[in-house]
Symmetry: C2
Subunit: 412 residues, 2 copies
C-alpha cells in the first residue's frame, strides 16, 4: 500500500471518527466537555433594569442645570425591590446591580457627585439619559437559545450554564482509550533494571497526550513478540473505542502486529504516512472501534499522535476545532530538507519586535525525546520544500498548552 499524504490520512481517519453518544453530568465536572444540548435562558438577565455602577439613580430631567442638588429619598442595595417612585428633585443612592426605582431613568456615578448634607447630593456632571443602566434581558433573554449544541464548555460557557441554572448538563461522551507498547526489548516502568533493555517511554508519553485531551486512558503494558500474548493484548485493547499501539509497525519479518490485527478482524486503511517523523503510522477499524499503530520511536509516536490521533479523538468528543493552533514564525537558522515528506521540526519560540522566531531544539533524530520535551511547537516543512533559509517564515503548531483551531492549515 502506498504511503498516504498526511491530509489523506487525516481525512481517512476523520471520516471514521463519528462523534460519540451523550451523557448527563454535573456542571461542576464539565469543563472542557462539548455540550450536546441546546440551552435556553430560563429568565431575563438582568431580571429588571439595574444600575451598572455605585452611585445615584436620578431623573435626567432634573439635571438641566449643572451642578444640581437632589434629595436622597432611598438607599437601594442589590437584591432589594424598591417600592418608591422618584419625584422631581429626588434621587436614590444605588449600588451596582441594584434595581432602578420607578421614576428614575439615569445613574450618576458616585465619583461624579459630592455629598452636601446627609440627605442631599450635588451632581457635578451632565450625562446622557439612560447612562449606566443595564436593561432587563440585556445579557440573556428568557426563552432565547443561549448556547448551541456542539459548543465547548469553556469557563465563560460554564458561567452561562450556571446563570441559567443548568446544574446537570448533556455532554458528548469521551472515547475510552487503551495504550499498548510492543517489543521484546522493552522494560516496564516497574520492572527491575536491565542494562540491555530499553525503558518503555511511549506508553507514558502517549498517556499524557491523551490526558491532555481530557481522557484518562488505560495502560495495557508491554506486549512482547510472542504471538499468543500479543494477540491476547490486542484483543483486549480492541474492546476500547480507540487502541493505540506503539512499536511493531515496521515492514520487518518479525512484525506480528499487522497480521494479528487482521486476524482479529481489523480492516487496515493505511500503513504509512508521507511525514517525518511518523512515517510508519497505521490505522484500522473494527465495527466498534479503531486502532492506531504508532512508530516505536518516542518522538515519531508523539508527532503521529498530534497529527492523526488527536484530531480523531477531538472529533469523537464532539469538538469542531480539531487541529493545534498555528502561528507564523521566522527561522533563526537555515533548515535542510529533502523533498518527499512533510516534516515536523521541534522548535522553541522566542520574539523580537517583528514577531515570533523559531529555533530547532537541536537533534531532530526521532529517538531524542528531549527535543520534544523542550519544544514549544512543531515547525512544518512542506512536502516539496528543498529547505528553508534563515529568516524565512514558517507555520508552527503550538504545543505549549492546548490551543485548538478549526482550520487544518497544513497542506501535504
Amino acid at each position: 500500500m502506498k504511503p498516504l499524504s498526511l491530509n489523506d490520512a487525516q481525512a481517512c481517519v476523520l471520516q471514521r471518527a463519528a462523534p460519540l453518544g451523550t451523557k448527563e453530568m454535573d456542571l461542576l465536572q464539565s469543563l472542557g466537555r462539548v455540550l450536546a444540548q441546546e440551552v435556553k435562558s430560563n429568565r431575563d438577565h438582568p431580571p429588571y433594569d439595574v444600575s451598572a455602577m455605585d452611585g445615584y439613580a436620578v431623573r435626567a430631567g432634573d439635571l438641566a442645570a449643572i451642578p444640581a442638588q437632589l434629595k436622597i429619598v432611598a438607599d437601594i442595595k442589590a437584591g432589594e425591590l424598591p417600592a418608591i417612585t422618584l419625584k422631581a428633585g429626588q434621587c436614590a443612592r444605588i449600588m451596582t446591580g441594584a434595581k432602578i426605582p420607578h421614576g428614575a431613568d439615569t445613574v450618576l456615578r458616585v465619583e461624579d457627585t459630592e455629598a452636601v448634607a446627609p440627605d442631599i447630593v450635588q451632581i457635578n456632571v451632565s450625562v446622557p439619559v439612560g447612562r449606566d443602566i443595564r436593561r432587563q434581558g440585556e445579557n440573556l433573554r428568557s426563552g432565547a437559545v443561549t448556547l448551541e449544541a456542539g459548543c465547548e464548555i469553556t469557563p465563560g460557557v460554564l458561567g452561562i450554564l450556571a446563570m441559567v441554572k443548568c446544574a446537570r448538563v448533556q455532554v458528548r461522551r469521551r472515547p475510552t482509550v487503551a495504550i499498548l507498547s510492543s517489543g521484546d526489548e522493552l522494560e516496564g516502568l516497574h520492572d527491575a533494571f536491565d542494562p540491555d533493555k530499553v525503558p518503555d517511554a511511549n506508553s507514558y508519553a502517549l498517556m499524557a497526550q491523551v490526558q491532555g485531551l481530557g481522557i484518562q486512558p488505560v495502560l495495557l503494558g508491554i506486549a512482547n513478540d510472542d504471538p499468543v500474548a500479543l494477540k491476547n493484548k490486542l484483543a483486549q485493547g480492541l474492546k476500547y473505542d480507540v487502541l493505540l499501539v506503539s512499536g511493531g509497525t515496521s515492514v520487518g519479518v518479525h512484525d506480528f502486529v499487522r497480521p494479528t490485527l487482521e486476524a482479529l478482524g481489523v480492516a487496515m486503511h493505511f500503513w504509512r504516512v508521507q511525514m517525518r517523523p511518523g512515517h510508519p503510522a497505521a490505522f484500522g477499524t473494527t465495527d466498534t472501534g479503531m486502532v492506531f499503530c504508532l512508530p516505536g520511536n518516542p518522538v515519531a509516536s508523539m508527532v503521529s499522535f498530534e497529527q492523526i490521533v488527536a484530531p480523531a479523538l477531538r472529533q469523537m468528543m464532539g469538538h469542531g476545532r480539531l487541529y493545534r493552533r498555528t502561528i507564523q514564525a521566522r527561522l533563526t537558522q537555515a533548515l535542510k530538507h529533502r523533498p518527499g515528506n512533510l516534516e515536523f521540526v521541534r522548535v522553541t519560540l522566542s520574539r523580537d519586535a517583528q514577531g515570533y522566531l523559531a529555533t530547532p531544539t537541536g537533534s531532530q533524530s526521532s529517538g531524542v525525546l528531549l527535543s520534544m520535551a523542550r519544544a514549544d511547537g512543531l515547525l512544518v516543512v512542506p512536502n516539496e520544500s528543498a529547505g528553508l533559509a534563515a529568516g524565512e517564515s514558517a507555520t508552527i503548531q503550538l504545543l505549549d498548552g492546548t490551543a485548538w483551531q478549526g482550520e487544518n492549515d497544513i497542506e501535504g
Copy 2:
C-alpha cells in the same frame, strides 16, 4: 488609594506569590505539574548502538561496488543480544531498535535492497559509513542531568521521566483555592428559582478558570450582606492559600467586604486597577495566604482573574511561564477607546492570507458573559490609545486553551 497600573498590580501580587513547597507523587498523575527535583539519566539510551531502520547491518567496506550481494548470517530482533561478528561479505537482517552486531558499521534500509535468495540480499545503493545507526547514549547519557527542577511536566517530559524510570516524582504543591460570591441579590445554583434574584455565575466561571490551571477549588457559596455571616465565610476562606471573593468590592456604603477583611487581619495592597473590565479588583495578604476581591460583573471577574490571579497561581505552582500566550492580529473593524485605562476587548479570531484577524464579539458590556464565552482571545487596547482603526494590528491574549508564555508583553 490610587488605582495601580496593571503592570504594578501584577508586580505587587507576584512579589507575594512565592512558589509553594514540594510533594512526591505518582508519575501517572503528574501531567502539568512542575518538577521540583533535578533528574539524571540512570543509563545510556540507547543502551548500545542500535539500528534506526528495518534493514541490513553491513560492513561499509563490502559496498565498494554497487550492486553488491551479501550473505545473510543472522536475523536480529530488538531486544536480542547478537553473539555473532560479521565477516567480509556477510550481513545481518536487523529490526529498528535492534543491537548492531560486532563487525557491522552501517545499516541499509530494506527498501534499498532486493532479495536474491533466502540467504542472499542485494544492496542497490551506496550510503555513508554509520548511516542509520543510533549511537549508544545518543539520546540520554547515564548520569547526565536530563531534566532541571522547574520544568513543566509536559507529555514529552513525562516520557523522559518514564525513560529514566522515575515512577514517583517530586513536584511543586498546588495552592488550595476557595471561592466566595457576595451579594444579597444572588441565587445559588441549587436554590429555588426566584424571578427577582440574580443567579450566581461568578462562582462557577471562576471555578472553571481555576480548574483550567489544574487546581480543584472549594466553593464556599454565597455570602449575603449580613456582617456576621460575611465575616464567618471570609474567615473560612482565609484558611486556604488563595481566597477569591467576587462582588462586594465597590465603594458604596453597603460594602462590608473591605472592613471585614481588614478586621480579620488582611493587609490590603490595592483596591483598583487601571484596566477595563476589571477596574474594581483588589488584593490583600495575611501571613499565610492571599485574597483577591474581584468585580461582581462576570466578565470583569473573569478578565481580572486572567490578568492578576492566574499569573500568581502559576507562579505559586512553580511555573516560569505566567502569562497567556499572545499573537498579533489585525482588527476587522475600528475600536473606540478613551485614554486612561488599559482595555481588554473580547474577540474571535479568523484568518486570511496575511495572518490573524480579530473581530470583537459584540457587546463589550461587562455584564454580557456570552461575549466571554464566545471569545478566542482578549485584544489589548493600550492605556494611552485614542482608538484603533480597522486593519490596525493589535496584541491578542489567546484564551482558547492553555498556552502560556514567559514574557509579559502587555504594557500598562
